[in-house]
């Protein structure tokens, strides 16, 4: 059995404390943990120096509630794929192959993830020219053969104002047999830009990893840096971060329900929610001057304080828009034609959700209680003040309903937090980063779990910074939801997940 190495959310671990296991022992350790219902948070490789051998790291939830286990091994060519035993890891292994040019043997679905050239070295896992930038979308797509099978390709340029991504449907008439999603058009190389950091521009880059999750990603980054330096943000800063995070959740969930209403052609809710989303964004702007919360959260605390006058104004705004929000939502959930359109569409089975490692709203809609705020609480969240919001049916309706219930909770939470803002400073200065340390920060963004993991080198700079956006796992869930569905239901299923392209592409 592997030695127990425990880490908490926002905690740190000296790299020297993590033993480097031989790969077979590492693999059986990971598989054992997953069999005993551990959730894999991250599985990634790291090459400390161009000539040094790459290492493998796996971070999983541990048996003790609220803690994590870290496993470490060496990455050698031909390392065995764990995907057949733990499908949650399939994208991680593809990512390792793409970044380090070392392919896991026996991987059943080894395709590029983001279409960039290999980071170090000269060997490409797919035999492409390592000197040239690969074309996004150039890979072998899964094909269904048959006289009456037809293929529909959508994107990367779409009719709406959305991000680019390519969707390829294998259809039998109107029925989708298989959907393959090919992303990477938004790849900006953020993980590589962070190497050697933190740089002065790092906070801005973190905030734009997924623009709609600015506060979430920045809070996760702050947790990592605070964890590395052993700093704790003052209570007032923590409360303000939580207010901003919940306002982000409110704006996006309300916007999503409006978008769902627009997709099914239910105009009243579509229009009202569009306006209300703006109201919630403006509340964030009232705190920090940016509708998306840019520049608010920083390691050590927050940059903007809330004086009593603005605090009262925010509470007043909230009181004004709460009835409107409830009205727009109940209009939507009480219309029989809307329910008829949402129920039973785009179902994901609980087992599939577990197998694919779905997170956030999509997983909770399949009955999985997987809220980071509950499981790995960081103040002001506790397991008690965040309820388990789950739905059983796993369809578009369940995903919409989870959002509605989370809106209800977030409204109460924001009001409560604003009414009881702790007094005190809004930031603690950070010390220099320690050398050779690993730190982990997890945040429940509005879409789901955001995981940031930093490894520092001997100088206390980032030697690896790993980011896992909820979209990383959940795009596979969308592909699964479309199996045997009507192709005309794709836009609705897509909206019900509402995943980030740039959060996936990084």
């Amino acid at each position: 059995m592997t030695p127990e190495i425990a880490l908490t959310n926002g905690g740190r671990l000296p790299l020297a404390a993590i033993p480097v296991l031989p790969f077979p022992e590492f693999a059986s350790g990971v598989i054992d943990l997953i069999r005993h219902s551990a959730t894999p948070i991250a599985y990634f490789a790291d090459q400390p120096a161009p000539e040094a051998p790459p290492e493998l790291f796996a971070v999983l939830t541990a048996a003790t509630p609220g803690t994590f286990t870290v496993l470490r091994s060496r990455l050698a060519p031909g390392f065995t794929s764990l995907t057949t035993r733990a499908p949650q890891l399939h994208l991680f292994e593809r990512e390792i192959a793409e970044q380090y040019g070392i392919a896991a043997s026996d991987h059943p679905w080894l395709k590029p993830v983001r279409f960039h050239s290999v980071w170090h070295g000269t060997t490409d896992a797919w035999g492409r020219d390592p000197g040239r930038h690969p074309q996004p979308g150039v890979m072998d797509f899964f094909r269904v053969e048959g006289a009456e099978i037809h293929e529909v390709g959508v994107g990367p340029v779409h009719a709406g104002i959305i991000e680019p991504g390519h969707f390829r449907f294998q259809c039998f008439g109107e029925k989708v047999l298989h959907l393959e999603i090919s992303l990477g058009y938004q790849h900006r190389g953020i993980e590589r830009l962070l190497l050697g950091g933190p740089w002065p521009q790092t906070p801005s880059q973190i905030e734009t990893m997924a623009g709609d999750t600015t506060v979430g990603h920045m809070t996760a980054y702050s947790l990592v840096l605070e964890g590395l330096t052993g700093t704790v943000a003052p209570p007032r800063a923590q409360a303000l971060r939580a207010v901003a995070l919940e306002l982000e959740r409110l704006a996006n969930h309300v916007g999503d329900i409006g978008a769902l209403a627009g997709d099914v052609g239910f105009l009243p809710t579509a229009s009202y929610c569009g306006r209300l989303r703006g109201d919630y964004l403006n509340m964030t702007a009232a705190i920090c001057g940016s509708r998306f919360g840019r520049g608010l959260v920083r390691p050590g605390g927050v940059l903007f304080d809330l004086e009593p006058a603005r605090q009262a104004r925010l509470l007043q705004t909230l009181a004004d828009i709460v009835p409107n929000t409830r009205g727009a939502l109940s209009l939507f959930f009480e219309a029989p034609s809307v329910l008829g359109r949402l129920e039973g569409v785009g179902k994901v089975l609980t087992d599939d959700a577990l197998g694919l490692g779905l997170v956030g709203v999509a997983a909770r809609a399949c009955g999985l209680d997987c809220d980071t705020r509950r499981a790995f609480p960081v103040a002001p969240y506790t397991t008690e003040n965040v309820p388990a919001i789950t739905e059983a049916s796993g369809d578009v309706f369940a995903r919409a309903r989870v959002r509605q219930r989370e809106i209800e909770h977030a409204l109460a939470f924001v009001r409560q937090a604003l009414e009881n803002l702790p007094a005190g400073p809004i930031a603690t200065p950070l010390t220099a980063l320690p050398a050779d340390t690993l730190a982990l920060g997890l945040v429940e963004g509005w879409r789901g779990r955001l995981a940031h993991i930093a490894l520092t080198d001997a100088q206390g700079r980032f030697r690896r910074y790993k980011v896992i956006d909820p979209s990383f796992f959940n795009w596979s869930g969308l592909a699964m939801a479309l199996r045997d569905e009507q192709i005309s239901d794709f836009p609705l299923c897509n909206k019900s997940f509402n995943l980030s392209y740039c959060g996936f592409d990084l």
Binding site: S271, S337, V338, Q486, P491
Partner: protein, 304 residues
């Protein structure tokens, strides 16, 4: 005769875009927005007719024929039906068959033009349109048979004239109400309105009618929009004729009554669209078959 012909054309050409404007405006107001001005569809048409066209190199003359047939058909079909108490300029025994199949012809050409582009989206739209129209056709025929049975005539003009004189208190009341409901549902289905299709959606995978005309641009697209507006008016006429008063004797007063009824119908369509979501594509055939059954029931009640 000439005046009646002119009046028909003028009403059709002048009023049809306004109906679209009224529907859009109603939806906007219900949604809490101000909405586009009522004459926006006219501006759109003028803009489109002033544009150049982009033609794909894979298309043939069939692609250009679609919009032309699409506007010619409602123009001809309108001549066969009375606009309220304003009689039809053209009628002969059995013209109801021509009326139904004129729209079949338009659909045939729209579908061919869509397939001509070779796009996978347009192929899907064409398949949907063909399927759903097959299911809508029986209802229209049975509704006409009900009217033919009541009036004892196979001429659309006479059929609807009898309707005006015979109001809903007669023994035919129940059949007439059912038939009017059926025709209203067919109106929504044939004109790709909610709950069957969403004319405002930009999601090519969910569209039915809109996806077939994605490749048309400029004047051709203008013809399609104009033709669609006229089709809405012609089909709408079938519905409003059920509630029109008998002729007052003055042609222009009759025309005014008819216009008012049409505008009220447009508001009604706007209200339906504001109040409900689109159906799942799988459920559309169920509703259309249900409508066919309802129309058969109207016929059975008449024959009992």
């Amino acid at each position: 005769m000439i005046i009646r012909l002119l009046l028909h054309f003028l009403l059709l050409a002048g009023l049809s875009p306004l109906l679209i404007g009224v529907i859009t405006r109603t939806k906007a107001i219900i949604a809490g927005r101000q909405g586009a001005p009522l004459w926006q569809p006219y501006r759109d048409l003028r803009r489109l007719f002033g544009k150049d066209m982009v033609l794909s190199s894979t298309t043939t003359w069939v692609f250009r024929a679609g919009p032309v047939v699409g506007i010619a058909v409602p123009l001809i079909a309108a001549l066969l039906i009375p606009f309220g108490a304003v009689g039809a300029p053209l009628s002969f025994s059995g013209d109801l068959v021509l009326f139904v199949y004129l729209f079949g012809l338009a659909r045939f050409f729209t579908v061919l033009a869509a397939l001509d582009t070779g796009s996978s989206f347009e192929g899907m739209g064409a398949a949907r349109e063909a399927t759903f129209s097959c299911l809508a056709e029986p209802t229209l025929f049975v509704a006409f048979i009900v009217l033919a049975r009541i009036s004892g005539s196979f001429t659309l003009d006479t059929m609807f004239k009898t309707l005006l004189a015979n109001n809903l208190q007669t023994v035919y009341g129940v059949s007439l109400v059912l038939t009017a409901i059926c025709l209203f549902i067919i109106l929504l289905a044939e004109n790709s309105r909610i709950p069957f299709d969403d004319p405002n959606t930009h999601l090519e995978l969910t569209m039915i009618h809109e996806v077939m005309v994605l490749d048309h641009s400029g004047p051709d697209f203008g013809l399609i929009l104009y033709g669609a507006a006229m089709k809405l008016m012609v089909m709408g006429t079938l519905v409003v004729n059920f509630i029109m008063p008998p002729s007052t004797g003055d042609l222009f007063v009759d025309a005014a009554f008819y216009t008012a009824a049409l505008l009220a119908l447009a508001v009604g369509i706007g209200l339906v669209e504001s109040g409900m979501a689109r159906l799942r594509l799988l459920k559309v055939p169920q509703l259309l078959i249900g409508t066919s059954l309802l129309s058969f029931f109207a016929l059975v009640l008449l024959l009992r």
